[in-house]
Symmetry: C2
Subunit: 412 residues, 2 copies
């Protein structure tokens, strides 16, 4: 049986994701598809447009059979940790194949790059340090060092965000001696960074978020670019007088925390390095909006996503001390199920015996601090809407979304 593993954010699930899913199933001859999906805060350091439960429903309707959560401790992270966390979870789920979208589209490019890096670690590290000293951000220093040391023509372009992620997926699989087969599909129709909607029926999630948040488009107005299931979820979410989530909704909480915490307290927050605590406190009193704040914080040294992730850690009050222990483990602390179809459920009962970590279907089943942080993240993601205030306990009791693909219906 071929079990396809996907690493996703689905913010929101759109036609490009649907296309990727279809192509990947065909390419891997998959019998079943598992997605490990970021929870309520994403890799780029942003709150998800809608809750992870809504995004789970989008994924199930879109064709995924089993959705499990990528815990926040892995999700709101640089590519390396994000990839390690996601691959370790897919490995637990006995996935046989991984297929990711990339700008390259050639799996050999990735394997070769990872193997080359392993052999040239020392040289590369020296070059990275040199590049960092010139004031570059880490991702930039990494891709420039790669280029400088490798000095070859068949190089993987590590400035492309999906190539970077892919590189780290492959690296994780190889380093873990995992038996997962590796595939990639060339991204089509839209690039990750594309902010504008093109005339094809595929637009990047970034472009769609821009339409929804900045241009205040209704979900219906982007319906050309999203499957019906996504349109339904977005519409239902907005209907209850809730706006889709963006950093703007959280800005006043950042203001409060950054102003009221001392420098010493901010320094304890994960990823608050090199005196950023002073910069945070200085910039916050002068800023009039999240965007203004971020642009004041920004330096050549720190990418926008690096800073946004720091702000997620601040918002969730995640200290270095808290993150240290779970991030030092080679295995995920648990696998948490967010949703499944009939196929997904049968896979679960099949692999239950081989899982080496607990399988969580209800948050109240475990006292794991990583899980508790995910519950907190969901509560603090949802709290900006009045209507969610009463549902703090629901997150604790929530059970996986169950989807009947034949009837195209959710049930409990």
């Amino acid at each position: 049986m071929n079990v396809l593993g996907l690493i996703v954010e689905y913010n929101p699930f759109h036609n490009g994701h649907f296309y990727h899913l279809e192509q990947s199933v065909r390419k891997t001859k998959a019998d079943i598809t598992v997605a490990v999906m970021s929870g309520d805060f994403l890799q780029r350091g942003e709150p998800a447009l809608v809750s992870k439960w809504n995004r789970t429903r989008m994924a199930l309707k879109g064709g995924v059979d089993l959705v499990v959560e990528l815990p926040y401790i892995y999700a709101a992270q640089k590519a390396e940790i994000f990839a390690d966390g996601a691959v370790s979870i897919l490995d637990q789920l006995s996935v046989t194949d991984i297929c990711f979208g990339s700008e390259s589209g050639e799996i050999e490019d990735f394997i070769q790059a990872v193997e080359w890096e392993e052999l040239n670690k020392n040289k590369l590290d020296i070059e990275i340090q040199k590049q960092l000293k010139s004031g570059k951000s880490y991702p930039r220093a990494f891709s420039d060092a790669f280029k400088a040391v490798k000095n070859s023509e068949t190089i993987l372009d590590l400035k492309q965000p999906n190539n970077i992620l892919g590189f780290h997926y492959i690296k994780s699989i190889i380093n873990n001696h995992s038996s997962i087969r590796m595939h990639t599909i060339k991204r089509t129709g839209a690039h990750y960074h594309d902010q504008d909607i093109s005339h094809s029926r595929i637009a990047s999630a970034t472009a769609l978020r821009k339409e929804l948040l900045l241009n205040r488009a209704s979900p219906r107005e982007i319906s050309e670019f999203i499957p019906p299931g996504t349109l339904e979820e977005l519409t239902e979410y907005s209907a209850d007088n809730r706006s889709l989530h963006s950093w703007d909704n959280y800005y006043s909480f950042l203001q409060h925390k950054i102003m009221s915490d001392t420098e010493d307290e901010l320094r304890e927050i994960y990823e608050c390095e090199e005196g950023l605590e002073y910069r945070l406190k200085k910039c916050i009193v002068h800023s009039s909006s999240f965007e203004d704040f971020l642009s004041r914080l920004k330096t050549k040294r720190y990418t926008r996503t690096r800073l946004q992730r720091l702000l997620v850690h601040i918002y969730l009050n995640s200290t270095k001390n808290f993150m240290k222990q779970p991030l030092s483990q080679p295995f995920p602390p648990y696998v948490r199920v967010l949703g499944m179809s009939q196929k997904g459920r049968s896979l679960l009962s099949h692999i239950k015996k081989t899982l080496s970590v607990p399988l969580i279907t209800k948050a109240s089943q475990s006292e794991d601090p990583v899980l508790k942080k995910d519950i907190l993240a969901s509560r603090l993601h949802g709290m900006v809407h009045h209507s969610s205030r009463n549902s703090f306990m629901d997150e604790y009791k929530a059970v996986p979304v169950q989807y009947d693909r034949d009837l195209d219906k959710f049930f409990t």
Copy 2:
């Protein structure tokens, strides 16, 4: 020269305050009046209706000549610390007379009670401990112990809030061997706890706040009970699309902080005692509003005001460690001027030489942590209104309100 000192909150300044001011001036034959006024968070653990600058203007228009700030570290406190802080500041300002409103109205009652307490400290302490063990709140245990031990008929009723405050004013003055003359005036027309507006033109501040906040009365609708200067300030404040401040405006910040802080972090907050950190975390996830939260938190042991003060300390992130040093000092760290009339200015230049602590007219003049906390308190008081977001720096640069009594005009 007789300098009258008043200890006030003016939230808002109303006819009862005006009456008290007039009577006190007459009684003390005062040439000039100084008020030490709580900043943006008040003794009962509540945010002030409007900013301290607006309340300063109300006070100046109402007849006060000099308004100085009672720092938050003294203001949001039980009667004892509140009184010690206020008296120590009035002492610095060479005040000759203090006159406070009380339910008793007889200064001899207070002096006698304080002297009796001094002589019977041990007996009283034992009785207080006994009363506390039966589960009573501290104020209740104190007044009951007083009654039980003193066993006399001419007793001061220490269940009355203004009598309690008065008792501690007198105690501070006597303990500090201050030469300030002591007076009290019987409160008239409204009791402190009265929540309803009566038919006289005097209503308690509690009743007025209830009208404004709960019954959503416009400032004009309570104009019968407030001087024109207060009406003007309240109207101006509301006009800018800002609502008057109540705990409701701050509730979501409490949610965020109490949910994201660990129990260990909450335990570090000033006044978080006896496992309250667990109770806070437990109650917050079940609550749907500030009122709901407070009623869940409430026990016989803790008065509503005690808990509200704790919530102020949480909102301002004031730790035990932070409060320890300044509260252990016999002198205030500085005297900060909020506003003055011509008379007030001449008093200031007169007493500048005798002040033993710095005189602050602009926050940027000092790095004192108590002052910095007051700036933070003002920023965090104001931040709930969008329109205030750009004015965080203003608090730092703000200069005292100057009032020309002859022209009835403010100038800069």
